[in-house]
């Protein structure tokens, strides 16, 4: 990024922060995008792109599909033992962040109906995983995403059985260290009675929550930037 323009640098830093430390996104980060020339449309679009790619990477890691694009980037060497960033304590979380509700992008109204459908598909059904299990997955992910609204909204979704604990553990792992998720993690879910369609439902719901919570962190950014 040495030869990047200030605008490119700002986009890069924003994407990295929203990905690895979404709880730390502050008004100053959005102001930096604006100072680099982004319009409000651009800010919302940037939040969406970064948030959606946090979906795609987790589905790729969770399902274990191979990468099949030509990439001009140098071959990435993955450190599966890389630790996630430490999370700040709950009393520091932004109370305006509530990923249990769909984020609203004022300048991207065209996307709202399909986002609603997507959200509803994950939460408003009992096929494959019960509604309760879906909330367990979401709450476990949201806990690692410093999303107080979701944690509170799903406060009934505390894991109590071995299967529920396995679901919560999987959600936390796919959220925290998606690069470390492997075949063994799918095997652990199978041992609790999930078949492949149910495992896919779990993977995609957790990935979906990772998108939603990040959207809220981006839109609700306020106050001075916390030390990371």
């Amino acid at each position: 990024m040495d030869r990047a323009s200030p605008r490119q640098r700002a986009l890069f830093d924003f994407a990295v922060t929203l990905t690895e430390a979404p709880w730390s996104i502050a008004a100053a980060d959005l102001d930096r995008l604006r100072a680099a020339g982004l319009s409000e449309d651009g800010v919302e679009h940037a939040i969406c792109v970064a948030a959606f790619f946090n979906y795609y990477t987790r589905v790729a890691d969770g399902t274990g599909i191979e990468f099949d694009y030509d990439s001009p980037l140098p071959r990435l060497s993955i450190d599966r033992s890389r630790a996630p960033l430490p999370r700040p304590p709950p009393d520091t979380w932004n109370p305006a962040v509530d990923g249990s509700r769909l984020a609203v992008f004022p300048r991207r109204a065209f996307a709202q109906p399909v986002l609603e459908q997507w959200h509803s598909y994950h939460f408003d059904r009992d096929a494959l995983l019960s509604r309760h299990e879906r909330r367990i997955l979401a709450r476990a992910a949201a806990t690692e995403l410093c999303d107080p609204g979701t944690v509170a909204a799903f406060d009934d979704a505390i894991p109590r059985t071995p299967r529920e604990r396995a679901l919560a553990a999987y959600a936390a792992k796919l959220t925290l260290t998606p690069w470390a998720v492997g075949a063994l993690d799918a095997t652990l879910l199978r041992a609790e009675g999930l078949d492949d369609p149910a495992i896919l439902a779990a993977i995609t719901l957790v990935a979906h929550q990772n998108t939603l919570s990040r959207m809220h962190h981006g839109l609700a950014a306020h106050g001075p930037r916390d030390d990371r």
Partner: protein, 89 residues
Amino acid sequence: MPHIRIVEHHEADAPLRAVYDAMLARPIPDAYRAPHGGPAGIIRAHSLDPELLRITFAATGTFHRGDALSWAERELIAASASRTNQCFY
């Protein structure tokens, strides 16, 4: 090897085949087309639930829309997020 069953294009039943073909027919940049010509891995990852596949890419595919960021800038954000997650996607 994938961790769950992936249903390939050639073995897809009618509902899945329809969604796969609709995905392939999208007007998207060439960089998002897999070199093998079939649905990309991230699409096939969803093969066990064609309706999930359709709804997911309708929603997430909205990232292609918007004039405020150039295509290169969207790519920069995407690649930066993916690299941070240590993922090729």
